[in-house]
């Protein structure tokens, strides 16, 4: 394929458009984008792939053979892609300006869309086709115009985050419900009426408990803590709880600063009335989530406080998370309820 | 008015620039008062600074001793003679008295002299017995010098210090300078100069100390310094003392330029307070300060400051603080005051600590003189807008009311005390007086801890 071949450009546009569309899909946009990419690859595989070309069933050889196949049909130059093994992982690197999908990739970044590498996606497809195994992909930061990514065996069967089967809605394979704001607000108001002193504890603990199970599950899929955290925060966004942003994180010091714009809780307060007598921080549910996520990812007890809240007039809610002082842990055991 | 600067350090300030040209000046004093040196320097400065050749007429010393004396100050008179800038005339009084002014006229013409020193005219007396003719003779002599366009210094011996004899010479000449070598309390002597008359021009009256230094005479014109620099604008902003709590008592701080006495017995924390005032001023407000110590050496002060983690040495290296040590034995009051003014000005000091004014008290037993010196010091510092802490001995122990006198000159007084309360020794601070500040009265707790002095204002009215 020629460098400036219009059909290659149009393929890029297609992915870009899909990416943008998927970003507007309420749930699991990344998952659906992945499905598109592997779907396209599957059609190609059905027509052009021959297992006989394989030298071995090592992932490295499978991917090489697949790239050679693509070269044979003049779609790309297999030599542009460098593949190497690193333990169970397969590392791929390519010069940015040699990548077939560069326009899509660059524009998607510019537009702030979730990044998903199509090339790695197709390799996932061929690995699944040949080996029947699922692989996950992750993209590392590119430097000096070289893109680096990796494929690694997925820990379990790949589970889509939100799906619907008839009338049953599922999140991560478990049944889920969609609650309108009013219902949620009513729930809180009822708690306040029956046990006003318990309200903030209820919210925090609810966040913490549910956050723990989600975090453990994600951790299994994404071993890299920072990437896993990003994904978990992405999910909060996807679930409509607020536009969460990781401001800073230090794995070594086990601290993080997270911001949330337009938190769901703030919207509920604005529309359905305030839960407390005075303006104060109210996003205890989110606080619980973050504390749970970070406790799992940092592998130690983390406390998270909401320092400022949009409901008090700030531009955003800001959360600070730090490890629980060790001295206290030793003396009292774990003061945090664990499931 | 055509004035001739003498070139003698500090002297010209006393006569507002110099002696009127053609005038004759009588320099009188007891032996050893420095008359000859005064006269020689007058001639020497004329040659070197103003290109005015001179003549020295001596009746009592041999030229050799004059050369030698001058050479002690590094003045090579022989070289000037060879360069035709100077003539030294060694003659007898008889020769002078006779209408032999021609002898002088000759040498004056030779070098084109403008200045003359006659050492001394007392010898006229020894050859002329009749007072009337003596007077006429001296008068004629002086007139002769004036005719030659000479400005003259005439040396006259005085027999004793106590007796003031208004001799006829004083009427004949245009100006009279008296030199004294006075005794002071303790083992101290000092030289004093007084201009008792200047015809046709003004001078600063009073006694002024002077010193014969390696480079000649230096007059300390104390009165002069209070008149200069008055154009420096006064800032209204208060100055933070750097002592926590003290500014609260002062309702913000000290008025700029104020001199404040810090009085207290030993161990009440006066020196620490002074050090803190400078250190915090330098570190927190970037203000330069001088510590003038008459008692502790810089090393002792550095060590003292280190106890509070203040690196005085480093601050001195950075040019923020200057520690000046002057041992009591070498201290001259007027010189110190003038030197201090100069240092404050050249260093750009906004803060000054003087530790302690006992040095002044020990030198001066006359209350009026003490008052005057202090007035000069305080006024000078005030003009320079330098806010000063004058560390002083405890009020009650100071000799006979003299300390009260000082407190009437300064703008403020802080008393540091050490009292026993419930069997514990407690330090206290009282703002006894602070001109222009509605300060908090009464005793307040003062503590010295690792970070320095802290005052805890008493609660309630």
């Amino acid at each position: 394929m020629k460098e400036n071949d219009i059909s290659r450009i149009i393929i890029n546009y297609m992915y870009l458009s899909m990416c943008r569309t998927m970003n507007q899909v309420p749930f699991s946009g990344r998952h659906w984008l992945e499905q598109f990419v592997t779907g396209v690859a599957q059609y190609f595989i059905n027509e052009y792939w021959d297992d006989l070309m394989l030298q071995s069933k090592k992932p490295l050889d499978i991917c090489r053979a697949y790239l050679n196949t693509l070269e044979r049909v003049d779609f790309l130059n297999a030599g542009d892609y460098r593949l190497e093994e690193s333990g169970e992982n397969l590392l791929l690197s390519v010069k940015r300006d040699k990548c077939v999908y560069r326009e899509y990739c660059l524009r998607a970044r510019e537009e702030g869309l979730p990044t998903f590498c199509v090339r790695l996606g197709t390799l996932q497809a061929i690995l699944h086709h040949v080996l029947g195994e699922n692989f996950s992909e992750s993209l590392e930061k590119e430097e000096e115009g070289v893109c680096r990514g990796k494929l690694f065996p997925a820990a379990g069967p790949k589970e889509e985050i939100v799906t619907r089967e008839g009338h049953v809605l599922k999140i991560a394979g478990r049944r889920a419900v969609l609650l309108p704001q009013e219902t949620y607000a009513s729930l809180l108001v009822s708690v306040r009426e029956h046990a006003p002193h318990a309200l903030k504890h209820v919210l925090y603990d609810a966040g913490y408990q549910s956050g723990l199970s989600l975090a453990h599950k994600s951790r299994a899929l994404y071993p890299d803590p920072e990437e896993c955290l990003q994904l978990l925060l992405e999910e909060i966004k996807n679930q409509g709880l607020g536009n969460v942003e990781l401001v800073s994180v230090s794995l070594t010091r086990a601290r993080a600063r997270i911001r949330c714009y337009e938190s769901f809780q703030v919207a509920v307060a604005n529309e359905c009335g305030y839960l407390y007598r005075t303006p104060q921080v109210i996003c205890d549910l989110l606080r619980g989530f973050f504390a749970a996520y970070l406790s799992v990812l940092f592998e130690k007890e983390i406390i998270c406080e909401e320092m400022i809240c949009q409901s008090m007039g700030a531009d955003y809610c800001e959360f600070l998370a730090l490890p629980l002082p060790k001295k206290l842990l030793d003396r009292r055991g774990t003061p945090w309820p664990k499931k | 008015m055509n004035k001739m600067p003498t070139g003698i350090n500090g002297f010209d300030e006393l006569v507002y620039g110099g002696i009127i040209r053609g005038n004759s000046v009588l320099v009188e004093g007891v032996p050893g008062a420095g008359k000859t040196t005064f006269g020689i320097e007058f001639v020497y400065r004329g040659i070197t600074q103003f290109d005015e050749p001179g003549v020295i007429v001596t009746c009592e010393e041999l030229p050799e001793s004059i050369y030698r004396d001058a050479f002690n100050f590094g003045w090579d008179l022989r070289a000037f003679e060879q360069a035709n800038k100077l003539r030294i005339l060694c003659t007898s009084p008889e020769a002078l008295e006779d209408a032999e002014v021609n002898l002088i006229e000759e040498v004056v013409r030779e070098v084109g002299a403008r200045r003359i020193l006659v050492d001394s005219i007392s010898h006229f007396k020894s050859v002329i017995n009749d007072p009337l003719s003596l007077r006429r003779s001296v008068y004629g002599f002086c007139n002769g010098l004036r005719r030659l366009g000479l400005t003259s210094f005439l040396v006259k011996e005085r027999e004793s210090e106590e007796k003031r004899e208004y001799a006829f010479e004083e009427y004949v000449v245009d100006a009279v300078i008296r030199l004294e070598n006075k005794e002071r309390p303790g083992l101290h002597r000092h030289r004093v100069l007084e201009i008792s008359k200047t015809r046709g021009q003004e001078h600063i009256p009073g006694k002024h100390t002077f010193r014969i230094t390696d480079e000649g005479i230096r007059v300390f014109a104390l009165r002069g310094i209070t008149d200069v620099n008055s154009e420096i604008s006064q800032e209204n902003k208060l100055l933070h003392t750097g002592v926590p709590g003290l500014d609260d008592l002062l309702r913000g701080g000290l008025p700029r330029g104020a001199s404040v006495a810090v009085a207290g017995g030993s161990g009440t924390g006066k020196t620490v307070l002074g050090l803190q005032y400078l250190v915090k001023g330098a570190m927190d407000y970037g203000e330069r300060g001088i510590f003038l110590s008459f008692e502790e050496t810089p090393q002792q002060l550095f060590a003292n400051a280190r106890q509070f983690s203040w690196d005085l040495y480093a601050l001195q290296e950075q040019g923020l603080i200057k520690v000046v040590y002057m041992p009591l034995s070498r201290m001259e009051i007027d010189e110190t005051i003038i030197g201090l003014g100069e240092q404050v000005k050249s260093f750009g000091a906004r803060r000054l600590v003087l530790d302690s004014i006992y040095a002044f008290l020990s030198r001066i037993d006359n209350a009026a003189v003490l008052h005057e010196k202090f007035y000069c010091l305080v006024t000078c510092l005030n003009r320079l807008n330098c806010t000063t802490l004058l560390i002083s001995p405890a009020w009650d122990t100071a000799a006979g009311g003299r300390l009260e006198l000082i407190h009437s000159v300064v703008q403020g007084t802080m008393l540091l005390k050490s009292i026993l309360s419930q069997n514990r020794r407690v330090r206290q601070l009282e703002l006894y007086k602070m001109r222009g500040v509605n300060h908090v009265m009464g005793n307040h707790l003062l503590e010295i801890n690792a970070s320095g002095v802290q005052v805890f204002p008493r609660l309630g009215g």
Partner: protein, 239 residues
């Protein structure tokens, strides 16, 4: 205008308009009745409301309050790091590891200077100040000194808009001092044990609310390790 509450449901319900910043609260009560727990509630509420909380520990080291708050899942390190929670150690005297420590408990001037210094660092923020307990600082002092200190301090705190809670342990000070000092407070809360020795209950009673109506009945309360102080009425439904 911001109003402040204690963060104790059954108590807050009794002060509908809340308290203004610059008010002074006197909490007087028996030893062990839960004054420090109330102080903890007050601080927790303050932290949630964005206030800066200053806690003066006179009867226990500051670490005790730190742990108390942590046991309620309040992330004290986060707040201390951001300067929102400040401890003054008025317990250890020499050898305190705290940033702010009172080296000498015998001089009220020194306490006043330290308190002023800490509050100076909070200018421009809403501040809650808790002294636990003030009665400890005032013991063994001359009554005129106490009153001078008290008047000067309360005046300053009011001027600075500091919401203050001063705790007094019952029977530490002369009743006369309590009565006179009480005049300067906007709000007085009494906490004590009642009932028999074998079946005692905790009671709290609002003794005074300046320029507000209040019900002066006693409320029974308990201390829960999760919720802190629970005034008995909170347990039921109310509207």
């Amino acid at each position: 205008m911001h109003r402040a509450y204690f963060g104790v449901e059954g108590l807050d319900r009794n002060i509908e308009q809340g308290l203004s910043y610059g008010s002074q609260i006197m909490v007087e009560g028996d030893s062990g009745v839960g004054k420090t727990v109330l102080a903890g509630e007050f601080i927790k509420e303050g932290l949630r409301c964005g206030d800066t909380c200053v806690y003066v520990a006179c009867d226990e080291p500051p670490a005790a309050m730190r742990e108390h708050l942590l046991s309620f899942k309040v992330g004290t390190p986060v707040y201390e790091e951001t300067g929102r929670l400040v401890f003054i150690d008025a317990y250890e005297e020499d050898g305190s590891a705290e940033k702010y420590a009172l080296s000498d408990l015998r001089n009220l001037e020194k306490y006043f200077a330290l308190e002023t210094e800490v509050l100076r660092g909070c200018i421009g923020r809403r501040v809650r100040l808790v002294v636990d307990s003030l009665s400890t600082l005032l013991t063994n002092l001359d009554i005129t000194d106490v009153l001078d200190f008290h008047r000067a301090r309360i005046k300053q705190l009011r001027k600075k808009g500091i919401l203050t809670m001063d705790i007094f342990v019952s029977e530490v000070l002369e009743p006369r001092i309590i009565t006179i000092t009480g005049h300067l407070y906007n709000f007085i809360l009494k906490m004590n044990f009642s009932g028999s020795r074998y079946n005692s209950v905790r009671l709290m009673q609002i003794g005074k609310v300046k320029s507000q109506q209040f019900v002066s009945s006693s409320h029974m309360f308990t201390i829960s390790p999760v919720y802190g102080i629970l005034v008995s009425a909170d347990m039921g439904v109310y509207q």
